[in-house]
Symmetry: C2
Subunit: 301 residues, 2 copies
Amino acid sequence: MKKRISKRRATRRPGIGRLALFGVGLIGGSLALALKRKKAVGCVVGVGRSRANLLVARRLGIIDEIAADPAAAVKHADVVVIAVPLGQTAAAMAQIAPHLEAHTIVTDAGSTKRDVIAHARRYLGHAFARFVPAHPIAGTEKSGAGAAFASLFDGHKLIVTPEPATDPRAVKTVTTMWKLAGMHVISMPAADHDRVFALVSHLPHVLSFALVNQIAGYADASALFKHTGGGFRDSTRIAGSSPEMWRDVCLANRDALLAALDDYLGELERVRGMLEASDAQGLEQCFTAARDARARWLKPQ
Amino acid sequence: MKKRISKRRATRRPGIGRLALFGVGLIGGSLALALKRKKAVGCVVGVGRSRANLLVARRLGIIDEIAADPAAAVKHADVVVIAVPLGQTAAAMAQIAPHLEAHTIVTDAGSTKRDVIAHARRYLGHAFARFVPAHPIAGTEKSGAGAAFASLFDGHKLIVTPEPATDPRAVKTVTTMWKLAGMHVISMPAADHDRVFALVSHLPHVLSFALVNQIAGYADASALFKHTGGGFRDSTRIAGSSPEMWRDVCLANRDALLAALDDYLGELERVRGMLEASDAQGLEQCFTAARDARARWLKPQ
C-alpha cells in the first residue's frame, strides 16, 4: 500500500495543465519559461495589449497559443496569472470574472497587494476565495517578452498575502507553481508587504528616477553624464525601469510610499544640517553607521 | 640624425625612477601596481599611518620600501603622490615641503580640487609650481592596500586641474604617469571639477548612506534588509565606502555639495507633490524622462 502511494506520487505531474497568462512581459514570460524548463505546465495561452509582443512570445516558445479574447484565454484554465501593469489589474479581473470555471485559480504578480486585493474583492465575485495575491521579488530594469528568461526567479522570494477568505488549497497550488519556478515562498499580511516594499523597493526607484532627472535638468547635462562613474551608474540602474509600471506602483502604494519618502527627506535634512554646520564627527558617525548596517545585513549575494 | 633620435626615444624608459607614495590604500596601491605592470617605475617607497597596512603593501609587492619618515620618503623622489584621505592632505604637504628636491614633482589623487589647491598654495611654497592637482575617477567601495589591483584605472578618466602657476612640464610628467597606469586624461578648471563631482559622485554617495541609515533606523530593520532586492543593493553599494574618506570629501566640497543636495531635495519634493496629488500623468512623464535620459547618456559600459 505504502509503495503504491509512493509510486503514484513519483509519477504524478506536479504542474499545471493549462495556464492563462495575462501580460506576457518580463515577469509573466519568465514564469512560463521557468515552468516549461521543469516540464511543469502543459499549455500556456497568452493575452495582452500588444499583438507584436505576443507574436514575439510565441516565436520564443514562451507561450503556446495566443488567445482571441480574455474569455477564450481562461476557458479550461487551471491557473490564471495576471502579470499586467498594476493599473490594468482591475480591468483584467473584470474581463475574466464572468468566464472563470469553478476550479480555476487566479493569482497576480503585482508589486503592491492591498490595492490588488481590493480590486479582486470587487471584481472577482465568488472567485475571490480562489484568488491568491502574490508578488515575486525578482526583476530587471528591462521589460517585454523579449526580456524574459527562465532563471529570473531562481533563489528569489515570492511573497503571498492571503486573506482570511482565501482557500488554502488555492494558496497551495500557487505556491507550488512558484516553487517550481525556483522561488522561496514567504507569507505575510498585505499591509506589512506594502510597507516593506515601499521602503526597500518603491522608494529606491523614486530616488533613482529623481537623481537622473536632476542631472538631466542642468544645461551641461551631457558633460555631467560623461563624468559619471560606477557609483552613479549603480545608483541609477533602476531608473531604466518601466515608467508605466512604476507610475502604477507609486499610485497603488501611495500612502506607504509617501510615509517612506517623508522619512527619507527627514534623513537627508539631517545630513544636510551636519554638512552645513561642517560637523565632521556627525558625518563620519552617519557614514559609519550606514557602512556597518550594510556590512551586517546586506552580505554579498 | 633622425634615426638616432628615434632610437633614443625607443630605448628611453618613459617611467619614474623613484616614486614616493603617501597613503598606500586602494588608489595609491593600485597606481603602484599599474606602473609596475608596465615596468614604468623603478622604486616605490611608501609612507602611511598604519604600519600593518604598509607591511601588507610590501608583502604584496605594491611598495619596495617603507620610509622611516616623510623626509626620508621624498629624498631623491622624482614624483611624490599624495593619496591620503583629503583631511590629511594639508598635513602631508606641510611634512614634505621642507624636504622636496628642486626636481621633485608633487601630485595628489583627491576627490576635490579647490581645497587641495588652497592647501598646496599655503604649504608647498616654491614647490607649488611643481604641484599638479589630479583626480583619478576610479575606485571601489573597498579600502586599504589589500584592496589594490593593477587594472583599477584601465580605461577610466584622470582629471587634472592645473593652475596658471603650474609648470606645464610637471603636468606632462603626471599625465604621462597616469596614462601609463591606463587612464585617459582630461583637464578642466578646479571649480568646474568640484561642481561636476559634487553632482555625479559626492551627492549619490550621500543619498546612498542616507537610504541605508533610514532602513537601519526602523525597529524591524533586520526583516526589511532581508526583503531588499537587486535594486536596493545596487543603489546602496557605495554606502560601503570609507566613512572617513567621504566625511573629508563632503567637508572639502561642502558648498558645491550643499547646492547639489538642495537641487535634489527640490527634485524629490516635486515628485512628492505629484504623488500626494495622485498625478498619474506627471509621475509617468517624470519617470519616462529619467529612463530616456539614462538610455541616451548612460550607455552600458
